[in-house]
Symmetry: C2
């Protein structure tokens, strides 16, 4: 089916995407909670339409460029879930001015809070804000017990140009374990962070209509979402070897792959060389921690998607991927010019290397979908 | 100077680029050899113009997209230095048809050789070809002593639709050492590979007008280029911590950096969080082998480009970079909203994350230069 396709290409299996999306929507229904999908992995309105079953409801983005793109497509409730800085206020305002949708911003910093209030008052606009909480990842966010929480919320509350919406946390350290029990504990830490913070703010008569948590692993394995209003998750749409390595998905759930051609036989390896290198697959190796043979991806048959025995992409250079061989018989099975599909180590990083998806559905190519990359 | 710039941005120091380019042109003059710059790092006609001092002479590219872009800009001698496969023949022909320049292709495979001859005869075009040799990297290429060398050359020689141009090797394993003596040995292995192969072909009365070698380290440290007609090198234009770690450049030679903003203070780290994460800096960590504190880049003052004591970007997530702190005084020196510039671990990988350069010259912003990414 791919004979005339020039490689490397990013291939998206629409059937698997639809199945993964349906599964996570059902999970949200089960918990009776809003799923606000994170589009940082997909960066595509076509993927978002499937994730949300055609509704342009609440979404999460990782860049203002994504925010502008989804706003232009009619998404009216967008959360930009990376701490904002004053040099991005004008861009955020421009998006809101042009599209009239709701764009919610994030901070964990008193100085940025003051600057946002001053900017919004001066520019006569209204910024919506959440406060970012640290639930144990120790990256973005303040502790729910922090005095800064109250100070930031009070500054926002006193500012007529700010629509204060509540609190958010991301238990990103859920990626650091393959223990389902530990992930469930981290999910509970996320829940505790937002509910403790909301309670402290409530004592000051400041409401938190949004209490946002999430990651794909913690959403899947969290036991209770009491007090949480929404979950964010993104990589579940595609999954990858990193999620498989942590037992979050089955190998058959992975919807993303890179189509590559064999461009050489390294007899001295022995190795097969493909045109899927670091610039196609990325150098992300986060699956390897719990799946040592992941390499830069599993090598699969391009049509059946069955893995080719134990083959992985073991080395990557800019445009070259090297597949180590134990058996030179592979030179016969994979002649130069033949194709393989590589299951990605980390879907977010691999997808970011391409400006569009080649979409396959029921075993046939059905079209191309663009992606909104960069900033 | 960067106050109004939205981050992350890729910054190119034109003065350093010009200095590095001049140094390598002088080295080529000293060896009386053609420098065919590899534009896989720069992917920019503006950078190429400086590298070649305004001449549109011979260049190397890593994708057919780069080839089409440089051909359209009037470059008439382009070498696509990645093994070609039949699914790219039509694209290569289209570039040649449209632009009339010379595009030289590469293979190390008998079957591809036959397919190229058949395609060119059927399509009534002429393909120029080099044969790729393995000089010890064991990635692309056949050994110079290989029987395939003679078979491929004889097939090409007998085909009226092929302009056979000679042999090429890349001692990419020169990146695997920081020993100047070892790099010099690898440079000699490159030279031996092409001269042995050319001699074997000459015995069959097949000329090799091109004997192409190179990488930045082997060009810099090679002792003899007797019998070599040209050298390819690319990262020398920008340099990076990977080259610095191997003593190939000084820290002050590095022309590329990523401008980033401080977006948070992680008191529990303690760490400073910036908006230069994996998608801006890349996850390439190849400098760390010989420079363990390289992390994902050195953190510098945005104007003076002096490193901020021992600060590196120690962790990256998609849009977040984490700078570990030994001293919380950095929270005062780097308030949220302040900027830093990150010297890249590996310039090729970092630059690929951006569609343009913000160019600075003599301490001022002088414009933007586009890049040709993807395939």
């Amino acid at each position: 089916m791919f004979e005339t396709i020039e490689t490397p290409r990013l291939v998206l299996d629409k059937d698997r995407l639809a199945q993964n999306s349906q599964r996570f929507r059902a999970l949200a229904d089960k918990h009776n909670i809003l799923l606000r999908p994170h589009l940082k992995t997909a960066k595509s309105v076509d993927v978002a339409a499937i994730a949300l079953n055609g509704r342009k409801s609440a979404i999460t983005v990782s860049t203002l460029k994504e925010a502008a793109y989804f706003a232009a497509e009619g998404y009216g409730d967008i959360l930009y879930a990376v701490g904002i800085t004053p040099n991005k206020f004008a861009h955020a305002k421009a998006i809101m001015d042009q599209y009239k949708g709701s764009l919610t911003l994030l901070t964990d910093n008193v100085a940025v809070t003051r600057a946002a209030c001053a900017f919004a008052e001066r520019e006569r606009c209204v910024f919506s804000f959440l406060i970012e909480l640290n639930s144990g990842e120790n990256r973005g966010g303040i502790l729910p017990e922090s005095p800064d929480l109250l100070e930031i919320a009070q500054i926002f509350d006193a500012c007529p140009a700010i629509d204060f919406k509540g609190v958010l946390t991301h238990g990103g350290h859920s990626y650091g374990t393959d223990s389902r029990a530990e992930i469930a504990t981290i999910a509970e830490a996320e829940r505790q962070a937002v509910t403790i913070a909301a309670k402290r703010l409530s004592a000051l008569s400041i409401a938190s209509p949004i209490c946002s948590v999430g990651s794909t692993p913690t959403f899947l394995l969290g036991q209770s979402f009491a007090g949480v209003t929404e979950v964010r998750a993104g990589v579940y749409m595609f999954f990858d070897l990193a999620q498989f390595s942590r037992k979050i998905c089955q190998i058959e759930d992975i919807a993303l792959s890179v189509l590559a051609s064999v461009i050489g036989h390294a007899r001295q390896g022995p190795a097969v060389i493909i045109d899927g290198g670091a610039f196609a697959l990325s150098k992300d190796d986060s699956a390897n921690r719990f799946l040592p043979d992941a390499g830069y991806g599993y090598v699969c048959d391009p049509v059946t998607m069955e893995r080719l025995e134990h083959l992985s992409v073991n080395e990557v250079h800019q445009e070259h991927g090297t597949i180590h061989l134990e058996d030179e018989a592979w030179f016969e099975r994979l002649p130069v010019g033949s194709m393989v599909r590589i299951l990605p180590n980390h879907a977010c990083a691999t997808a970011a290397n391409f400006d569009n998806y080649l979409v396959v559905e029921k075993g046939s190519i059905m079209g191309e979908w663009p992606r909104v990359n960069r900033w």
